[in-house]
Amino acid sequence: MKDNYYDPKGLKNFSKIKDFQEPLGSKFFEYYNAVFKEGGLTKREKCLIALAVSYATQCPYRIDAYTVNCLENSTDKTQMMEAVHVGAAINSGATLVHSV
């Protein structure tokens, strides 16, 4: 990571958040995996929500991961872009609403 804060290879190291706090890290992954299981919403729907949130929070690792997940769940690019707009609309709405 000499010239950039973000290194795409860093995504593979996500599990290392457990290194200095194993109990909390484990609880996080347990919760995370439970959230993304098929439930009232399908895995595909959850991936699209995650994609929208990833863009709204501008996390490049999550953008990378959920772009791949959406494509693997046979979501097409027009649907993904629509989800990005949902994220954008919510984010910009949150900015604008403070003006009133």
Binding site: R44, L71, N73, S74
Partner: protein
Amino acid sequence: MKASKSLKYQGHKLNSTEYQIEILNSEAVGNVPLFQDKLAQQQMFPLTASKLDTLQVNVGYMCNQTCQHCHVDAGPDRKEIMTKPTMKYCLDALKHGNFDTLDLTGGAPEMHPDFKWFVEEANKQNIKTIVRSNLTILVANKKYHDLPDFFKQNNVEITSSLPFYTKSRTDAQRGQGVFQSSIKALKMLNEVGYGLEKSDLKLNLVYNPTDSFLSGDQLTLQNQYKKKLKEDFDIHFNELFTITNMPINRFLDYLQKSDNLEDYMSRLLDAYNPNAVPNLMCKNTVSVSWDGFLYDCDFNQMLDIKVNAYNHIKNFNIKSLLNRSIQVNQHCFGCTAGAGSSCGGALS
């Protein structure tokens, strides 16, 4: 439907199987352990045959399409086809090997001049015959229009690629006009009874990703396909199989050109599923090339990695094949990724 040229016709460097194997074992794929070492970790190396129930015969590389991701490098400019004497050896092997399934593939197997004869002869042995049809061949030329009836008369099980239920994704991978022709062909097959609820005539579809990703859940995709094909076209089929793209021939070319080879191999490695190993198709299948050589699978065939046994169909020896150790290499990570992959779809 405009077809482009095969790697062989282009004189491409990847036309050399040694070169492809060299790339798959080089730094170009990143830090990937040897596949045999992954098997050894679960005490499954060497990989051995569990039984022999399927003889998969590649009758030639001639095809009416030049699909972007084809691991065979098939196309209209490929002229390799199986001779009738070699087909006769295959029929003998079917009988003596006690196979219960003949799986015909290519290229487009229907383009072989002795295709119908071969199917009829196999049918006399009372085994299951699968034909891997690209669908568009049924409408490509008038001489193939009778194939749906021929398939029905010979109780053939049809397995066909349809990358997606939309025109844009299917045509992007398989060529302009393929989706429309595929829909027309599927309707022809439904008309004679294939894929219908109370029919014994099986029509299965195959999904493979249109890019360097793995497949999603097979059952979920199957339900999506069934819903959309019924709603949009009133088309019915039995099962959907998901297949992983193998880093061989034209898909390898695509991975290199798009600078995705290392990422893709890393994806396959990360998705390594030890539960897929016992069900790998190489454990119950023998693959025969157009010139009669024997391979553990179609992918080994394309890399010219012959079986570790008597390796020509004219010397077919069931004992030697049952006792062989299966040849593995780095492309095998494709079959063990995620839910695992085979010609019959996900493994677990």
